[in-house]
């Protein structure tokens, strides 16, 4: 970095600063247990953040993951509760998210709908479809399951909660994918300049399809962790504002929305900052509403900072790029 203040560094500094501040001022913040639960509380957010990062690096965005996740998992649980073997149910859910991801990719790559609208609308469609046909009851509980499945979200390995481990695994896989796989490198090229990428001979359209399928699969993984941690899932999650939290994590970590920049490291940094913030605010006994005001204001400041540090070039900005 030529100039010392990239957004990632700012966030890292804020995170470190907050960490030190909370450690000194808040009783019980700096215990191993609290730190583990700090990460555990944001690990689902982090997993989803990894998926969102893949979208944003490729100059897209996926607002439908927060519908894909609960709908596919609710269906999965319904199938398991209905007596289907877990592996078969998992395959069904996998097929569902692959189809959702493929439709997303198709709409964006071939119909050329801007990603933000395609996925926004798909989120509503997926939720509606799920509620009408796959999971008519909002809250689905796990009533019958094998221990190993249950332990995906609520177990511990060597004292570390499994959600943290899943987050680490997903992040590592995504890191290797983006860094070393040909497809991963292409995603950077596509995000940096889609037209050039296309002219260079990168199969931009099929790649987008794959990209959104991967994101959907990551959403399924996050959902399974969530459901097994809470022994159930509620499809009304699709109507919540959690998807904005996911974007927050990614943007806060320093992945520019114009694509082509950043990596998994940024997601981890952003996730940790949010974790520290939430944990600290909860320890301070701030109410949920105040927490969300503070959190979203920080998100706003983060994108203001992003705009100031990486200003959009009026003369080269794409027309209609909103």
């Amino acid at each position: 970095m030529a100039h010392g203040l990239s957004q990632e560094r700012i966030v890292l500094m804020i995170a470190t600063g907050l960490f030190i501040l909370f450690s000194v001022t808040l009783n019980g913040f700096l215990s191993a247990d609290n730190l583990l639960s700090l990460v555990q509380n944001v690990s689902i957010l982090g997993i989803l953040g990894v998926g969102m990062a893949i979208a944003i690096i490729g100059r897209g965005i996926d607002l439908s993951i927060l519908s894909t996740m609960p709908v596919s998992v609710a269906w999965l649980l319904n199938l398991i509760n209905g007596g289907m073997p877990i592996w078969a149910a998992l395959l069904c859910a996998l097929a569902l998210v692959v189809v959702i991801g493929a439709i997303n990719g198709f709409l964006i790559a071939y119909v050329e709908i801007p990603a933000i609208f395609a996925t926004l609308a798909m989120g509503i469609v997926v939720y509606g479809f799920g509620k009408a046909y796959l999971a008519p009851i909002d809250a689905v509980y796990i009533t019958r399951t094998d221990a190993w499945f249950y332990s995906i979200g609520s177990g511990r390995v060597l004292g570390v909660p499994t959600p943290v481990i899943v987050f680490a695994l997903v992040a590592a896989a995504a890191y290797l994918f983006l860094r070393y796989a040909k497809l991963g490198r292409f995603i950077y090229g596509m995000g940096d300049n889609p037209l050039t990428a296309r002219i260079t001979g990168i199969p931009v359209r099929p790649m987008m399809l794959v990209q959104y399928i991967i994101i959907s699969v990551i959403a399924l993984i996050a959902g399974i962790v969530m459901a097994t941690a809470l022994s159930g899932i509620n499809t009304r999650l699709a109507l919540s504002t959690m998807v904005y939290d996911v974007i927050l994590v990614v943007v806060l970590g320093g992945i520019g929305l114009s694509g082509g920049k950043g990596g998994i490291r940024n997601v981890v940094v952003g996730t940790l900052l949010i974790g520290i913030l939430l944990n600290g605010m909860t320890i301070m006994n701030l109410t949920y509403t105040v927490q969300s005001i503070l959190k979203s204001t920080i998100l706003l400041l983060a994108i203001v900072a992003d705009t100031l540090l990486n200003p959009r070039d009026e003369q080269t900005a794409q027309h209609g790029d909103i």
Partner: protein, 707 residues
């Protein structure tokens, strides 16, 4: 052959193919899509649900429609400027809360309360506007985050004031009127909405701010370069959206008095869907209030009907999300492919048969036999000129010609080497003519008829004519005024080449073979223009005959020269003077011996003549082949002919190599020389006419010798 050709002729004469393209080219065609969807929705639900349009349901819908309309006017402005406002849902909730608190609980006077609530909405809009307009942040993300922040503030407000609100009740009659009142059966919110819609429409289409908004949305960079204050315009649209959302929320508060956490949730998606469904383009520049109204109506009817049909909530979401996808997909594809579709559908060839092509071979003995008389003519302004379509001289022998840069150039007598920009007009001057007072008149492509006084003052004489009753394209605007001449009484007759194509597309008109052009008369006494001869095949050169009762005009694609009497005993009659030219005639001007010169800007070819008799072939060509590969008339070579009033060809001047004057669009005789202009040429040619009167000038011939 003959029978099928007769059939083709009749079929193309009576089936108005061209209407399809002309209708598609209309701006309101975008509105047709939502209208079709709306009628589909209406039909579907009327069949599905008896009593769908029953009275009481209509009143309910009308109330909500009023609120929707108020919001969507603001959204339209934001989207027209190329932005998007997702905060409406949260701002709606915030203002609803404020309304309940201020008016319901604290019972503040409505005259103070409503503006205060609107200002609150406007404040959020202002924050949006500053961030997006002045800081240049992305509209979608910024308003998304603002949506969360405002929603969090609403939650906090509900926490703090929820109890106060649920106890309040304002019984004032004004509040009651906002809630359930109506004017002649129209709910109060719809009355207010109608007023706002009307004002919004006028502002957007007729006023400076609206034009700025459209310009910014259409092309932000160009708008900036044109001096529009882009940032302020964008900022104001968000403020407007906030203000109006506040007003709508007040009506909602009056109607429902509900402070639930779900108030306004998803409203932004509903409004977005409505706007896009109506045909307001994402990214700006295209749309109208009417479209927004249609979109909102469709969404409302669908929502209401889905609820009333008792479908599960999942199905409603499914339908709504699907509609949004469909609307955006149509919008995206339509905006992207509109020009392609239009280009293919617009060109509408018809049947036209020319007489057999006259011989032009050098030894054929034909009137048009090739020679090389124009070889080595003197060049004026070589390399300095760009597109002198016409050439003319004033009394002092100065030469005037137009240029593609939008200027009239004056070359000074006697040697015509020194030149200056005589006047800047802004469009490409084509035909030129002087009146008796020395005012230069010119037809400017794309602009109309202009007059330049000797003091160089540029005056617009006319840029419109009467609108024909049954024409789909707006033919009142002058698209391509071409050549002109002035009658002794001061009336100006000028030709408009085509009403269907813009100036840069004039060659495409040849593919149609239809009379798309006309001759228009400008009367200086009434200062207005009227079409006098419609449906001509690219009318081009015009020359008033010496008797002052008739004009000669050339129809370029018709390859003929016609006389039309505008005065005298034969007033109104037309007669063909030269019927079958070997090329495409352009300007006509008087010659010193009482005859006329005419330039042929291109030559006919058997292939194109044949193609003109096969409209479906040309249609296929336009649809299947790239534009650059279309078959066009030959414009690479041309000549000058001299003919008398009876139509006898007296002389023909060729430039065989086509080096100096490949395409001659005008000729002007002056003191024994013939001056040649060309619309794509870089010079004016000067040809000595053997045996011509060395003192004859066109100016004197028209207006008499100088005193």
């Amino acid at each position: 052959m003959a029978a099928s050709e007769t059939w083709t002729r009749w079929r193309y004469r009576y089936v108005p193919d061209k209407l399809v393209g002309e209708i598609l080219a209309k701006n309101w065609i975008d509105t047709l899509i939502p209208v079709v969807i709306l009628s589909g929705v209406l039909t579907f639900f009327s069949v599905q649900m008896p009593g769908f349009l029953g009275g009481s349901n209509l009143t309910d819908i009308a109330q909500i429609y009023g609120e929707y309309l108020i919001i969507i006017v603001g959204i339209t402005f934001v989207m027209m400027a190329g932005g998007i406002d997702l905060t409406v849902g949260s701002v709606f909730a915030l203002c609803n809360l404020a309304a309940l608190l201020l008016i319901n609980s604290m019972e503040i006077n409505l005259a103070i309360g409503i503006p205060a609530i609107m200002l609150l909405g406007g404040l959020v809009g202002l924050i949006n506007g500053v961030l997006i307009g002045y800081l240049g942040m992305r509209a979608f993300l910024t308003t998304l985050v603002m949506l969360i922040i405002v929603r969090a503030i609403v939650d906090k407000g509900l926490l703090d004031y929820g109890q106060t609100i649920s106890r309040g009740f304002n019984a004032s009659s004004a509040w009651e009127f906002m809630a359930i009142g109506s004017v002649f059966g129209v709910p109060s919110s719809l009355v207010v909405a109608a007023a706002i819609v009307l004002v919004g429409h006028v502002v957007l289409t007729r006023m400076r701010f609206g034009w700025h908004v459209t310009a910014v949305g259409g092309s932000r960079r160009s708008a900036y370069n044109a001096g529009i204050r882009v940032k302020r315009t964008i900022c104001l649209t968000y403020v407007l959206s906030g203000l109006l959302t506040g007003l709508a929320a007040t009506f909602y508060a009056a109607r429902l008095s509900s402070a639930g956490t779900d108030v306004g949730k998803g409203l932004e998606v509903t409004m977005l869907t409505a706007a896009v469904l109506g045909g307001i383009s994402l990214g700006g520049g295209r749309g109208s209030i009417v479209k927004a109204m249609l979109g909102a109506l469709i969404i409302l009817l669908v929502q209401n009907s889905l609820i009333r049909m008792g479908l599960t909530s999942g199905t409603s979401s499914l339908v709504l999300g699907g509609l949004l996808l469909l609307a955006v997909a149509i919008d995206v594809r339509w905006v992207k492919n509109r020009h392609k579709v239009l280009a293919r559908a617009y060109v509408s060839p018809t049947y036209f048969k020319l007489p057999p092509l006259p011989e032009t071979a050098a030894d054929s003995g034909s009137d048009y036999a090739l020679n090389d008389k124009l070889r080595g003519v003197e060049a004026i302004g070589l390399g300095e000129l760009d597109g002198p379509e016409d050439v003319i001289f004033d009394r002092e022998d100065n030469l005037y010609c137009g240029s593609r840069h939008g200027d009239i150039i004056r070359f000074f007598a006697p040697d015509h080497t020194r030149w200056e920009v005589f006047a800047h007009i802004g469009g490409h001057p084509l035909g030129l003519a002087f009146d008796g007072e020395g005012n230069l008149h010119t037809c400017v492509g794309g602009m109309g008829l202009y007059k330049i006084t000797p003091e160089r003052e540029v005056i617009k004489l006319s840029d419109e004519t009467n609108r024909s009753l049954l024409s789909v394209v707006d033919d009142s605007r002058l698209r391509l005024a071409d050549d002109l001449d002035i009658a002794p009484d001061g009336r100006i007759f000028f030709s408009e080449a085509t009403v269907r194509y813009e100036m840069y597309d004039w060659m495409v008109d040849a593919l149609e073979g239809r009379g798309n052009g006309r001759i228009i008369c400008y009367d200086p006494r009434s200062k207005s223009s009227r079409t006098v001869l419609p449906n001509l095949q690219l009318p081009n050169g015009i020359c008033v005959e010496r008797e002052g009762q008739s004009i000669l005009f050339a129809e370029t694609w018709g390859c003929r020269i016609t006389r039309w009497f505008f005065d005298g005993p034969r007033k109104g009659e037309t007669e063909i003077v030269v019927a079958n030219l070997p090329g495409y005639p352009d300007n006509i001007n008087r010659a010193s011996d009482g005859t006329y010169w005419c330039a042929l800007c291109g030559m006919r070819s058997p292939v194109f003549d044949l193609a003109l008799r096969m409209p479906s072939f040309r249609k296929r060509m336009v649809q299947k082949v790239g534009r650059d590969d279309w078959l066009y008339p030959n414009m690479n070579t041309g000549c000058v002919i001299k003919f008398d009033a009876q139509g006898n060809i007296l002389d023909v001047l060729w430039d065989l190599g086509g080096e100096a004057h490949p395409m001659i669009t005008s000729i002007r005789e002056h003191k024994g020389f013939l001056y040649l202009g060309g619309i794509y040429n870089n010079r004016v040619g000067k040809y000595r006419i053997p045996g011509a009167d060395p003192n004859w000038t066109s100016f004197d011939d028209y207006w008499g010798p100088s005193a």
